[in-house]
Each structure stands twice: as C-alpha cells, then as structure tokens.
C-alpha cells in the first residue's frame, strides 16, 4: 500500500477533519458516533461499503462508572500499527479507530471502529479484525465503580478467555 498518500478532508456535513487512510484517536471526552460516521462517510465518498462498530459502557449489575487507563507510549502507536495492518491485510479505502480513555458513564461510547472498502466483506472483516485486536492487545485496563459511595468501590475487570479465542481466528492465515 505504498502508493497511498496521507491527506485529510474536511467534511461539509460534520465539520470534522479526518486523517486518511487511517484516523486513529484516543479521546479524553465524549465520542459522537453520528458526527464521526458522517465525516467518515464523506471522507470516503467513493467507497461502496462502510462497516462500523460502536462499543458502549453497558449498564447493569450496579455499575456506576467505568474507568479506562492506558500506557500512553504504547497505546496510540499500537493502535496506529494495528490500523496499518488492517490497511495492508484487507482491500480498504480507509479506517477509523477511536478509543475513549478516562472515566465514562453507562451508555457512553468506549470504542468506535469503521472501515471503508469497495466491497462489503473487506469492510466487515476489517472492523472485526480491528475489534478483536484492539480489545486484546491495545493495553487498556478497565475498572468499574459499583454500588453506593458508602459501601461501593472500584473493581478491576479481569481478562476474558474468549478474547484469546477471538484472536486465534486470525492467526491461522498469518503465517
């Protein structure tokens, strides 16, 4: 993909400047899915297929807040390298990968990934690939605040075994 040049495009719809072919961000504040996808759509006007995934803080089980910490020297370079991998692996026009850090409330977006491609399968597979790798390899640690102030507290979220299973889906054809 050496012929791809990096440039940015101002979207008339969303007034958001996106980097192309990869727009990778760590956000300290709210993530507006409508604005982001309108801008991504406008930035990739010639792509026939745009797939996206939004992950949100799930309410329930007494969760009051989610805090996401990361290790800055690894996180953004890691996400950028992953975006480059997706661009090389799939026939894409572009990708977007945004991740929140800091403290979030239930219902807020944590992660937004989108891929623009000529064909649906490439766009879909790229989003799937990015999500599998972001969650398992991007060095984010999450803890939840549960219960009331008096008796509640912060609890770390343990790693999940099925993230490893998800990653294993991609390693077969990487050799």
């Amino acid at each position: 993909m050496a012929t791809r040049s990096r440039c940015s495009l101002r979207s008339a719809v969303a007034r958001l400047v996106l980097e192309r072919p990869a727009d990778v961000r760590l956000l300290e504040k709210g993530l507006s899915v409508g604005e982001a996808l309108a801008a991504f759509n406008a930035a990739h006007e010639r792509a026939g297929a745009i797939a996206s995934f939004l992950g949100k803080v799930r309410p329930g089980e007494d969760v009051k807040a989610l805090e996401l910490t990361h290790y800055e020297p690894l996180t953004l370079p890691g996400m950028e390298a992953l975006a480059e991998q997706a661009l090389e692996r799939f026939a894409l026009d572009g990708v977007l990968a945004w991740h929140r850090v800091g403290t979030m409330q239930p219902g807020e977006g944590i992660v937004l990934v989108a891929a623009a491609a000529r064909h649906r399968r490439a766009a879909f597979d790229a989003v799937d690939f990015l999500m599998d790798h972001l969650k398992s390899a991007a060095w984010f640690w999450k803890r939840e605040r549960r219960g009331n102030h008096s008796d509640g507290g912060w609890h770390w979220i343990e790693p999940r075994d099925d993230d490893h299973a998800a990653l294993a889906r991609w390693t077969g054809d990487e050799t």
Binding site: Y71, P73, L74, W141, I157, R160
Partner: protein, 80 residues
C-alpha cells in the same frame, strides 16, 4: 535515579504507587529485586509483560534498561 519503573492497571494498586525510580542500568534480576516480593511473583507470571523505552519485550528476562529508559509493567488487559 535514572530508570523509571511504571506500574499499570491492577499492578498499580498492588505497588501502592504509580512509579518508582531506580539506578541505571536495570536488568531482570534488578527489576525483581527492586519491587515488593508479591509483585516480583506476579512479574514472573507469563501473563505480565514488560515494556522498555516504548517497546514490549518478547523476552522480558532479557531486560537491559539504560539511563533515561522507562520500564512499564503491563498486567493482562481487561476483557469485556
């Protein structure tokens, strides 16, 4: 005081601090000796990775941190 050890995620709670400064150079044995025994035990687990100067080490026991390097102790990332 020339190598900074950074504790991340749950390891920060276990260490009771964000970071620690130790003299350079720092190798694997030096790292294990610099932290509390229960942390050293966790570090020896295959699930904890070590980054030095912004690179995750493929073999953490080959750590060779020099003056000015930051050594990050990376517990497994959270699922969900």
């Amino acid at each position: 005081m020339a190598v900074k050890i950074v504790f991340l995620g749950p390891l920060r709670d276990a260490a009771g601090t964000d970071s620690l400064e130790v003299p350079a150079p720092l190798d694997w044995e030096g790292l294990l000796a610099a932290v509390a025994p229960d942390l050293a035990e966790q570090l020896e687990s295959a699930r904890v990775h070590v980054a030095c100067a912004g690179e995750v080490l493929a073999d953490k026991t080959a750590l060779e941190a020099r003056d000015g390097d930051e050594v990050a102790l990376l517990p497994p990332v959270s699922g969900g």
